[in-house]
Symmetry: C2
Subunit: 238 residues, 2 copies
DNA sequence: TGTGCGATATAACGCTGTTATGGCAAGCAC
DNA sequence: GTGCTTGCCATAACAGCGTTATATCGCACA
């Protein structure tokens, strides 16, 4: 009661507690009674402020999309659009690894409790803010304008890139790549393969991928990757 | 009791009912009481035969992997290994679309109820039978032996291909590609891009992709895709 | 003809999301 | 200041969930 008391409104404290529980203990910890205890209130608070568990999950997912978009928008744009695409892929992965449960609900189509976010709302949430997908499209456009990629529909090419990145991250999260290799043996070669297939000069691709790899190693060396560069998507609170 | 009575043992009837419920009504329909009603028994049957809900889910997942492997092993091997890889991708997708909930549990890392299959068991299940991933590796080896793909570690290249296919399917299932294009505008171009990036001659790639597309259209024209060619992964019963 | 043992039905426990009820405190009309 | 309305919250309840303890049934075997 008093331990968690602060001036922040109950509504945002509920969302924060939900994100924290989801991040630290997984979906099964996200119960109405647990949530109420966490913010020092009764379960009724959940229903007066949100209407029910589904709406609270929706709020957490929206928060997750906003943070993912912010994290990807924070990736610097260099003179090398192909390297930028690689950096975006790594940012995408870092977010997923920082909060796998939320990622599963946002982009993996996973239900949370007995509630599953409808696809239409997922897409709408994804298009808000600076739009995760839009950043990919923009970098793809630059790669085409620079003559790195063959001309084509940037949205279609971005969808291909997104499929590849997303698939790698999902397999990695599900553990299907364990024992077998990791980012440097699957993801970056995959990006190189796709870049080459899209028309990029092999030597230019090699330079871009090397740049991405050096960024990755620099971040990994600087500390825990999920902490470096801005908190990722986890809503862990201070 | 009499309506579902047959000589089949209760154990397999429980697994079948679970797969049917999961396929037709989704995860929230998969409850112990519902399952018991479905086979005309009490909930105790579940515990005497399986020990609990998690073990039953495990049995359904094993069944799903077996059917997926059988479905992919049924893809014919032609003289064109790149086209074969495309056909495998389409078979993979057809299975996922035929039973999206089961696919999410098997390969999407989605929890079922309050139970989530441990990654280690997923991988073990995947390696059984003819091993879904092994079929991919085998086709990749042939593509390398035929000079279509540059030489390299087939397992690593297969992991890249799997990531791409899996990512497309997950995004498609989650609805993130809706409005935007479909198999023919994202998946087959993605496979063509990767083949080209792996060293395949562009014209050879075009021929292989055209062959895959014609197969796809032939199947789509022959009837519902999920019915053509052997029941897919759904355990729908007669 | 017992006899033992596995499978099952019944009922309960603690948990879940949800809601009906009642009280409490703040804001506003007069 | 008094009375009323309105919104927020605590309490307690309800149906449903997975699970389990107990008792009963039925069948194989000595």
């Amino acid at each position: 009661m008093a331990s968690t008391s602060s001036e922040r409104p109950v509504r945002v404290r509920l969302v924060e507690a939900a994100a924290r529980l989801l991040s630290r203990e997984g979906p099964q910890a996200l119960t109405a009674r647990r949530l109420a205890n966490e913010v020092g209130a009764s379960t009724m608070a959940l229903y007066t402020h949100f209407g029910g568990m589904p709406e609270l999950v929706r709020a957490v997912v929206d928060e997750g999309f906003a943070r993912l978009a912010a994290h990807m928008a924070a990736v610097p744009r260099t003179a090398d659009p192909v390297a930028d695409l690689g950096s975006l892929a790594l940012a995408y992965r870092a977010n997923a690894l920082a909060n796998p449960h939320l990622y599963g609900v946002m982009l993996g189509g996973a239900p949370l409790g007995r509630y599953r976010v409808p696809p239409a709302e997922l897409i709408e949430g994804r298009r808000n803010d600076s739009d995760t997908f839009g950043v990919l499209v923009e970098a793809t456009k630059r790669a085409m304008a620079d003559g790195r990629f063959r001309s084509g529909d940037p949205a279609v090419v971005s969808a291909q890139l997104w499929s590849a990145i997303h698939g790698f991250v999902m397999l990695e999260l599900a553990g299907h790549l364990a024992g077998e290799p990791d980012v440097e043996t699957v993801l970056t070669p995959l990006l190189a393969t796709i870049a080459a297939g899209l028309g990029d000069d092999p030597e230019a691709t090699a330079r871009s991928v090397a740049a991405v790899r050096s960024h990755l190693r620099a971040e990994a060396g600087a500390g825990a990757p999920r902490e470096a560069g801005g908190r990722a998507v986890a809503v862990d609170g201070p």
